[in-house]
């Protein structure tokens, strides 16, 4: 297949290229260049007048894990404490950090088509806080029809803040202490010698933490308050962890420390109100302040049903002063690199997985839409449950 012409954003740099040809075969980008010879058996797609970008990557979602958030039988993205009456029951074998979402990802979720037709081709799906400050393993997925889970166990997830404090007795301090004790014990973990103490981690959980410390994968902490972000940075430094901050409403206060530690922040630009006591310092130009300080910024829509709003969120970062190309990298190349997806993902470069979107215009603009979306070299169907509903009710007879 050959995509010819248009305005191409390869993401290998912040340049805009016109009149290029992208050759795709076997799910991989074979060549990008001007005046390339197109093999006679290649389908030719004319993209003149269009804008071409890599597929968008939502770095934290529950796509495929939650279908209807209010219906518990369709919610697989967390492990909560069972309550009987008013009494919370702590079960002996309940999974904490050992919880792994990969086994629940539903390839038939109607959320996948709805989001991919608007250019979201991949996501990191993450466990939500459930019963412990460490909520478990996330997975990299592609929003395709099959073989959806591509990168299981690619990051460990957790949270610090008021909600997380509820799991450990109510104080934010106890969350930090719990995390420090967990990693201290995990570093010394010997399966045969480990004995679970009351309210401590099970052997399975401790084995998961030990595996995490050996693996070269990030710890993603959902944390908003400036003090807790500093605590997370200290934790990462003391235990040699690769940290990613998610949420980060008050990250702007700690921008220089985050930049010095090269710790990225995943944020929703429009999460700019003091909606909780963890987020009193939320502000609209958070991303801009972080970028100016040198912090790697990524964007999230914070909504699996509307991961497609990612580009609107990103566009608002541009409106608040971040450079356009830097913002686009925050929803393409940067999450791919930071989460260790297949090399080249999030770019249109030779050897990269062929994920690309042909847009009617600037992808960050509200009035633009995706005309074609490719995942691993295959054009996806642009039909979704929502387009089917539209067609059914487009004309109401009688």
């Amino acid at each position: 297949m050959a995509v010819v012409g248009g305005t191409l954003h390869t993401l290998e740099d912040d340049q805009t290229r016109e009149g290029m040809t992208v050759l795709i075969d076997d799910g991989v980008i074979q060549a990008v260049g001007r005046d390339l010879t197109i093999p006679p058996d290649f389908e030719r797609i004319d993209a003149a007048g269009k804008v071409i970008t890599p597929g968008l990557i939502e770095p934290v979602s529950q796509l495929g894990l939650v279908e209807i958030s209010g219906e518990t039988t369709t919610v697989d993205g967390r492990v909560t404490t069972v309550t009987i009456g008013d009494e919370a029951v702590v079960e002996r074998y309940r999974l904490g950090p050992a919880f792994d979402v990969q086994y629940a990802v539903n390839a038939d979720s109607v959320l996948l088509p709805v989001n991919r037709v608007e250019g979201v081709t991949r996501s990191i799906v993450a466990p939500a806080p459930g019963n412990d400050p460490l909520s478990g393993w996330g997975a990299g997925i592609r929003l395709a029809d099959d073989e959806v889970v591509t990168h299981p166990r690619l990051a460990l997830f957790g949270s610090i803040g008021a909600q997380s404090a509820q799991f450990v007795g109510g104080s934010r301090a106890a969350v930090i202490q719990r995390l420090r004790m967990a990693f201290t014990e995990a570093a010394e973990f010997r399966p045969g010698r480990y004995r679970t103490e009351h309210d401590g981690y099970t052997r399975q959980d401790m084995a998961a933490l030990a595996e995490f410390l050996r693996a070269d994968v990030p710890l993603v902490l959902t944390v908003h308050r400036a003090n807790e972000i500093r605590q997370a940075l200290a934790l990462a430094r003391d235990f040699g962890l690769e940290l990613i901050i998610h949420g980060g409403s008050e990250a702007w206060k700690v921008a220089d420390d985050l930049a010095a530690a090269d710790v990225p922040v995943i944020l929703d630009v429009l999460d700019n109100r003091p909606v909780s006591y963890d987020q009193l310092g939320a502000r609209l130009d958070n991303a801009t302040i972080l970028w100016e300080a040198g912090v790697p910024v990524m964007f999230t829509a914070e909504d699996s049903h509307n991961a497609r709003l990612l580009r609107q969120i990103a566009g608002n970062a541009v409106a608040e002063g971040m450079p356009w190309a830097e913002v686009l990298a925050g929803v393409t190349r940067r999450p791919a690199e930071r989460f260790g997806l297949t090399a080249g993902t999030g770019t249109i470069t030779k050897g990269a997985p062929a994920d690309l979107v042909i847009w009617t215009g600037d992808p960050l603009e509200l009035t633009t839409w995706a005309e074609r979306v490719m995942i691993d070299g295959e054009w996806v169907s642009m039909e979704t449950r929502q387009t089917r509903l539209l067609e059914r009710y487009r004309t109401l007879e009688g």
């Binding site: 003091p274 009193l280 310092g281 502000r283 566009g315 541009v318 409106a319 960050l364 509200l366 009035t367």
Partner: protein
């Protein structure tokens, strides 16, 4: 980003002599994600001005909190 000036209107739906002076001054196409309201007038009073902290709404709750710092 377009830098034109757009005016929009409230209930009466038009900017005409004799109608309510509800106006928004934009820094670009108001349908653009990049557009930001610069000034907002309700009944002729300038309630909001992006360049004037005195004309930006601040609740009692926000007062003295670090994000706004005013």
């Amino acid at each position: 980003m377009p830098r034109g000036r757009w005016a929009s209107m409230s209930a009466p739906g038009s900017i005409e002599t004799g109608k309510a002076a509800d106006l928004v001054l934009w820094n670009g196409n108001p349908f653009s994600v990049y557009a930001r309201a610069q000034q907002v007038y309700i009944d002729g009073y300038r309630y909001y001005d992006r360049n004037d902290p005195q004309r930006q709404p601040l609740t009692d709750f926000d007062l003295g909190q670090t994000a706004r710092g005013r």
